[in-house]
């Protein structure tokens, strides 16, 4: 291997370190209009009257748009493929505002101060309606959040008249019989909180008209193709008039999967002919975009007395917020990318309902429901270990999926073809010192240490849905150009795709030019979500590169004038006959290819990949905590995450992905929490009240990979991006239980919750 498995530097790494212009804000053209959205201060209200004349009259204000001034086309926000998986339920500017901060108008001005000033001159009269803030109230409430028509492409059981976004039901086997045969049954009702993406760069986009009259939209997006389609659908602009281009992304974690600014920019450019720029403030990024879905899950597990899990039953309530966005997918992923980790089951059922409420919509967020379900499942398994009086690592080893296993929730019922999870667990035990430390050690009269662990899985792309393409061209100067529609969100996926192409073509990464994520210039890609760029797009790149190799050899026979049967070889530098009689360096090859006498096409190969299966990557987390019995405060002393992502194509990018994900998961487990006041206003709208982990909160993480080889992956690779956030929360909860014997069923696991549980336990004794 020359490129794959090597720690190749990110192609944009040095430029990023040097602060070179590459982000959307670095690219603003002259004469940009600045946009501001008029936002409703109530959780649920209808606009009765809007007085925008004063704002329109303000010098420097170019346009003010009310709900009456814009197209009224139903669309849904996620930049994901058609037909959309969830309910289609929003308008670009609506008379009804369904959460605090929902859009009721749009201002475009010559500069951002004027736009801000104009905002103060807008007077809106609202009819304030009774909001639903508790998901438990939603289905039985008299309030109806979407009183208009809501479209769906699939039978989702979407019933807006009772605030039901949809049902996610999947089942296999005879559940009653399976539970009847179990020796032990445990239950755990868990609730995980909404989490903020807290990416460095807030949502933003810019648009301008090019010389052909095309509306060019540049943004840190996750898929140019779907952004183009959704803009067209929301505004009615002919999609052929829209060109979407991804800039570099200053952090996303799913936040930029949805279109919060692109539609308004494109619309203003369309209406005024002027370039437009729209950037969210930090408050808007917190209050007016998406959060991780707040999920309540009731897990019931049945097992034999030997510890083999035979039956799993799950009921989930998904708080979708004001718009459906990805709620349906979140339930789907939460179920299908979590439960197939245990394959010895006889029966299983997942019954989830997503509901509308008048809070910030839940949306795409790294993990898509899987971190939530991994937490609840992990807590239930920890309870099972307690009830069976069994070391949880032994319990896991008895149940985890093995090569050849099937699971009804693995789409298409494809068997597992790669896993090293058992070895990961063994390694985790060694790193943390499990045998010496499990379950607890008293350090002082008030301090106790405990260790705990969990396992998790994800998918690699979406089986039977994802389709992607890649193109390779051989250039006259013997370099190649790779055209890919995939979006690097800062993870280094561009570099990895180049490594894959370079490996097949036996050339250094630097010999390949790279064009990415531009709907006019690159081939279609499904977009950067569902942990798919390396596995799914990587397969398409590999296909294109392999086709290119074959084309080079076919061309070599012509250029070297060998007979058609002759064995010809290519080594990245030259082509040559197997018998050594003829050879041609690639420089000469390419000059001939483009010369008058070169009797051949310029070599261009298109590769594709239809994701027929979604092979699960696996991870295990081992955590060690020290709990203060008096305060409930606990320190995370040690945290080891060992992952099986198939082949590690780039050890550098893999390491930082897993470290970053682990840190994000530690914040989710221990303290991050989106909170509202009684009127539905977001209280955690800044970094004073919403803390993400800083360096001091994260112990020296022990991150390792134990490779397996996934036959369906490019060079054996699976996925990592989302898997990285799954396992720390349940491991921390298990460690806490092992240390002090209390269980916390809700995240974040704050010192106050631990203290309250310790008080409760003290009273029971």
């Amino acid at each position: 291997m020359n490129s794959v498995t090597k720690a190749v530097h990110k192609i944009d790494g040095m430029a990023l370190a040097l602060g070179k212009p590459m982000f959307t804000e670095d690219l603003l053209p002259e004469g940009c209009l600045y946009l501001r959205l008029i936002r409703c201060p109530y959780a649920y209200a209808e606009v009765v009257r809007m007085d925008v004349e004063q704002a329109r009259a303000l010098p420097g204000v170019v346009a003010v748009y009310t709900p009456d001034d814009v197209p009224h086309n139903l669309y849904t926000n996620p930049g994901e493929p058609y037909p959309e998986g969830g309910p289609i339920d929003r308008y670009m500017i609506d008379r009804f505002a369904r959460y605090v901060g929902d859009v009721v108008g749009l201002i475009a001005a010559e500069d951002s101060r004027t736009a801000e000033k104009a905002l103060e001159l807008v007077h809106v009269e609202y009819r304030v309606l009774k909001p639903i803030l508790d998901p438990h109230e939603s289905l039985k409430s008299e309030t109806v959040i979407h009183q208009h028509e809501v479209l769906t492409h699939f039978d989702l059981k979407c019933k807006p008249e009772i605030n039901q976004m949809g049902i996610m039901y999947d089942a296999a086997g005879d559940l009653e019989k399976a539970f009847g045969e179990c020796d032990v049954i445990v239950e755990a009702t868990c609730r995980t909180q909404a989490q903020a993406h807290a990416m460095l760069e807030t949502h933003r986009s810019l648009s301008y008209l090019d010389y052909r009259g095309k509306i060019v939209v540049i943004a840190p997006m996750q898929s140019p193709f779907h952004v183009q389609r959704v803009i067209a659908r929301a505004t009615g602009i002919d999609p052929k008039r829209i060109r979407t281009v991804q800039s570099r992304v200053g952090g996303s974690f799913g936040a930029k999967n949805n279109l919060f600014t692109e539609i308004y920019c494109a619309f203003v450019t369309w209406k005024t002919g002027r370039p437009a720029y729209h950037k969210f403030s930090r408050t808007e990024a917190f209050c007016c975009t998406n959060t991780r879905h707040d999920l309540e899950m009731r897990y019931k597990l049945g097992a034999t007395k030997e510890g083999v899990i035979k039956a799993i039953d799950v009921q989930a309530l998904c708080n979708g917020g004001a718009y459906a966005e990805d709620s349906q997918d979140t339930m789907y992923v939460g179920c299908h990318n979590t439960l197939p980790i245990y394959t010895k089951i006889d029966a299983i059922r997942y019954n989830g309902v997503a509901v509308y409420t008048n809070i910030v919509p839940g949306g795409a967020f790294r993990g898509f429901g899987a971190p939530q379900n991994t937490f609840a499942l992990g807590v239930a398994v920890s309870r099972l270990a307690e009830k069976l009086q069994m070391d949880i690592t032994q319990l896991q080893l008895k149940n985890i999926a093995q090569v050849g296993d099937h699971h009804p929730f693995l789409k298409g019922d494809e068997p597992i073809t790669s896993t090293s999870l058992a070895r990961c667990i063994q390694r985790g035990k060694d790193i943390i010192g499990w045998d010496e430390k499990y379950p607890r050690r008293a350090i002082s009269p008030t301090k106790v240490r405990g260790v705990g662990m969990s396992v998790g899985m994800h998918g690699s792309g979406i089986a039977k849905m994802d389709k992607v393409f890649a193109m390779l061209r051989l250039n006259y100067d013997a370099s190649f150009t790779l055209y890919v529609g995939a979006c690097d969100l800062g993870t280094g996926s561009d570099t990895i795709l180049l490594q894959i192409a370079a490996e097949v073509l036996q050339i250094p990464v630097e010999n390949i030019n790279y064009l990415h994520a531009d709907c006019d210039y690159t081939p279609y890609d499904k977009g950067a979500y569902a942990s798919s760029t390396v596995h799914v797009t990587g397969n398409a790149v590999m296909d294109a590169a392999q086709k290119m190799r074959k084309m080079i050899l076919d061309g070599a026979r012509r250029l070297m004038k060998t007979d058609e049967e002759a064995e010809v070889l290519y080594d990245g530098k030259k082509v040559f006959t197997a018998d050594g009689s003829k050879q041609m360096p690639m420089d000469e090859y390419c000059q001939k290819m483009v010369s008058y006498y070169g009797d051949m096409d310029q070599l261009t190969a298109t590769g594709s990949y239809a994701c027929y299966k979604s092979p699960p990557p696996y991870a295990t987390c081992f955590a060690e905590v020290e709990v203060d019995l008096e305060t409930g405060k606990y320190e995370l002393l040690n945290c080891a995450v060992i992952a099986d992502i198939g082949t590690v194509i780039n050890p550098n990018t893999a390491r930082v992905q897993l470290e970053g994900g682990t840190a994000q998961a530690i914040g989710f487990a221990m303290f991050e929490e989106v909170r509202y006041d009684k009127d539905g206003r977001l209280l955690t709208s800044d970094y004073i009240n919403y803390k993400i982990p800083c360096q001091m909160d994260i112990p020296d993480l022990k991150i390792e990979f134990i490779e397996s080889y996934e036959p369906s992956g490019p060079y054996g690779a699976k996925s990592l991006g989302e898997l990285a956030v799954h396992t720390p929360p349940p491991a921390i909860a298990d460690a806490l239980f092992n240390a002090v014997g209390v269980r916390i069923y809700t995240t974040p696991i704050t010192p106050e919750k631990v203290w309250a549980a310790l008080q409760e336990k003290g009273r029971e004794v």
């Binding site: 221990m670 909170r675 803390k691 106050e752 008080q759």
Partner: protein, 268 residues
């Protein structure tokens, strides 16, 4: 924050005069908490160029100029020497060192954040706020009175042989504390301040007096219980009232034990 006009005074007198002229004017320095506010300031009087950043020690008291930054307090040798660096410890959780370079002690006192551990420590150490015209105020007077339209010149901390312990609880390293306490032992007298309550830092005077009366016969645990009963606690975003009450007992007890334990060097 929105600013009408910006002005750099030539002297403290000049700054003071400007402040009197316009009720909507405001002194600005590091501009870290002001920047987050929605406040309108007709005239911003930037005092960062005035010679108010000095930190000095004359053997009796430590004087910290109002434009000294929190980072100065962490790194200045006189500040580090006082009570084993309790002043520095009281600010080290505030964002990062870069931001602490901008936050001034005068600005922090001016905005009086209820969660400030530094204010809690200054209260326990019986610090004085020195105004340009209005003279000195004890921390307690300063916190209970409405903001005065005067220029804070410095904070003075008496350097009697004292020990001081700061205890706090928070959910993450950089989070605002749920509760904090600073307990100072000055010539065998306990001075107990509790902060990060929704109502801000206060002295637990009743409990301290009871403790003084009872002498050695009262335990740290008993004093801490008295403090917890004496002080009002409330719910807010960070914590419930019940948890604050309970943590008050634990933190105050632990701080008292630390300052009264002769063998421990902490707080000397």
């Amino acid at each position: 924050m929105k600013i009408g006009s910006y002005y750099r005074p030539e002297s403290v007198e000049d700054a003071y005069r400007c402040l009197q002229q316009d009720p909507e004017s405001c002194l600005i320095a590091g501009c870290t908490s002001l920047k987050l506010s929605k406040r309108y300031i007709s005239r911003a009087i930037d005092i960062t160029a005035l010679p108010l950043e000095k930190i000095a020690f004359d053997g009796n008291r430590l004087t910290i100029g109002s434009v000294a930054s929190l980072r100065d307090i962490e790194t200045n040798p006189f500040c580090k020497a006082m009570c084993s660096g309790v002043l520095g410890r009281s600010v080290e959780h505030i964002m990062g060192p870069q931001l602490r370079r901008h936050i001034t002690i005068g600005g922090m006192l001016g905005s009086r954040p209820e969660f400030s551990e530094l204010i809690c420590v200054l209260l326990a150490l019986n610090a004085q706020v020195e105004y340009y015209k209005n003279g000195c105020r004890s921390m307690e007077q300063f916190l209970s009175a409405p903001p005065e339209r005067d220029v804070i010149l410095a904070i003075q901390i008496p350097a009697a042989k004292s020990r001081c312990s700061l205890k706090s609880i928070r959910t993450s390293y950089a989070a605002l504390p749920i509760l904090c306490t600073a307990v100072a032992l000055v010539e065998d007298k306990l001075c107990i301040a509790v902060g990060a309550r929704p109502e801000g830092a206060v002295l637990a005077k009743k409990a301290a007096k009871e403790a003084e009366k009872a002498g050695k016969s009262v335990s740290a645990t008993e004093i801490a219980s008295m403090v917890s009963e004496e002080l009002v606690m409330k719910d807010d975003l960070r914590s419930s009232q019940a948890y604050r009450k309970a943590m008050c007992k634990v933190l105050v007890r632990s701080a008292i034990e630390e300052v009264t334990n002769e063998s421990e060097s902490v707080g000397e």
